[in-house]
Assembly symmetry: C2
Homo-oligomer: 251 residues x 2
DNA sequence: GGGCGAAGGTGATTTAGATCAAAGCGACAT
DNA sequence: ATGTCGCTTTGATCTAAATCACCTTCGCCC
């Protein structure tokens, strides 16, 4: 596999100092409230459970798309490569997210775990047979379209600073959307985010270089917006403050 | 509507000098081979036909999403605005393409025609009722996800030159994909593309400025890759040559 | 516990593309 | 025809981010 920064680490679990229930805050599916019908499919005879170590490739772009995957625990990313090695991470996925449901019979992206991950592997045929499963799949696809729209705005129109801020906000639950409820506790608008992605992975997701990501993070630290522990654990000092930096909200 | 370059013109019909059947070459749905079941829905009592002039807004981001649209003829775009006026066009749609099927009950993008356009307007309820309709919708959504993945690569990792080349190739039918058949006629690898989008719309789609788009096009002209007639009609002198400039294919 | 390799940070420099500023050019209306 | 308005092109300049180069820090294994 032709690629510069091989082997990176990540996950996108989330915790909050403020003591929220640690929900899944990805802008992609999440689809936590899976239907009963979908639960049926989970138990279908063809369905199996599989575990991967961190940075394992689940499939490559161009592989036959015979299966469909749901993340049980862990995290994964989908990415595409250009022939000269440039990489774009197109989706970051967490528990409950579906992937591998490409249009054609070939996968349009490569899929790789960020951390050690367990997935459910479905047969495409089983899904096609059940209309309930279909409708679950449709919901996931539509949510992914919306997520991609937001990401297109980020990639096409946002500054490096705004991209990193948007990225961090992505993992803060119940905050940063159109009608943000604001901090629960007026005096403690903090949060802790475990990125568990390398700088290279973040860069490839945000359409930046590793150096730029690093610089922006350093600058946010310097400005007191965030604090770091262990490179991939970020303490957000004022969530609202960070949100202002995303560019998506009027001042 | 807060936006700098108001009122632009466009469409994305396509013709080829080489005399291909003038197919729809959009990387988005196209879904020409609509199923019989979908044809049923087209005739449902709640379904109506509506025409718009060029640059009419079909709906705004945030509007209640009560309907779903299919383009009969013409072209449209979906876009998002940042509060300071930056715009990102997230999709360009042609005949057969579906839009307005957002996850939530609010549209996540604004929709605007590029040229005078006729659409079919469906009730969301009708769609939800029919599982055949659902499956058509799923297909469209999945194709859109793939298209967005490609676009993410373009926005995140391609140079201005590569973006414009990719954009032009998008309208050349049966060419530029992974297994491109090459020119039918060895000595005549030309094509004519009617963009029918303004430079501003192209720029907002490609994540560039209007000046950069203009400069790249001028440069391609100078280098003999393309020829122009009337600003929005592009004659591609060597399709394979243009394809080499997209960055997606190994040299 | 020290050495090695991978990941992260930071400074100096370059550059692609943005921004700023004028002209061209067409289409339409007077 | 002539003026006007919007769009496009082109040139000059600026700048955000890339590139290049190097150093620091961390984790791991002998």
């Amino acid at each position: 596999m032709a690629y510069r920064g091989l082997s990176e680490a990540g996950s996108h679990r989330l915790e909050t100092v403020a003591g929220h229930a640690a929900g899944h805050a990805s802008s992609t599916p999440s689809t936590t409230g899976s239907t009963d019908a979908w639960n049926e499919i989970r138990k279908a005879p063809g369905t199996r459970r599989q575990s991967y170590a961190a940075h394992d490739v689940i499939y490559f772009e161009g592989d036959d798309a015979r299966h469909l995957y749901e993340i049980v625990s862990g995290a994964a990313m989908l990415y595409k490569l250009l022939p000269d090695g440039r990489r774009q991470v197109v989706e970051v996925l967490g528990p409950g997210d579906l992937f591998g449901f490409d249009m054609d019979d070939q996968h349009d992206c490569s899929a790789e775990t960020l951390v050690s991950t367990t997935v459910l592997v479905f047969n495409r045929r089983d899904i096609q047979a059940s209309s309930a499963a279909q409708s679950h799949l449709t919901r996931c696809a539509l949510q992914q379209v919306c997520a991609m729209h937001d990401h297109a705005v980020l990639l096409g129109r946002k500054s490096a600073y705004e991209r990193v801020a948007s990225f961090l906000m992505r993992f803060v639950p119940n905050r940063g959307m159109a009608h943000c409820p604001g901090p629960k506790d007026e005096n403690n608008d903090t949060g802790v985010v475990s990125l568990n992605m390398t700088r290279q992975e973040m860069a490839d997701y945000l359409g930046l270089t590793i150096e730029t990501v690093s610089r922006v993070i350093s600058d946010m630290k310097r400005k007191g917006v965030i604090r770091l522990e262990k490179h991939d654990r970020v303490i957000i000092n004022r969530i609202c403050g960070l949100c202002q930096l995303t560019g998506t909200h009027a001042d």
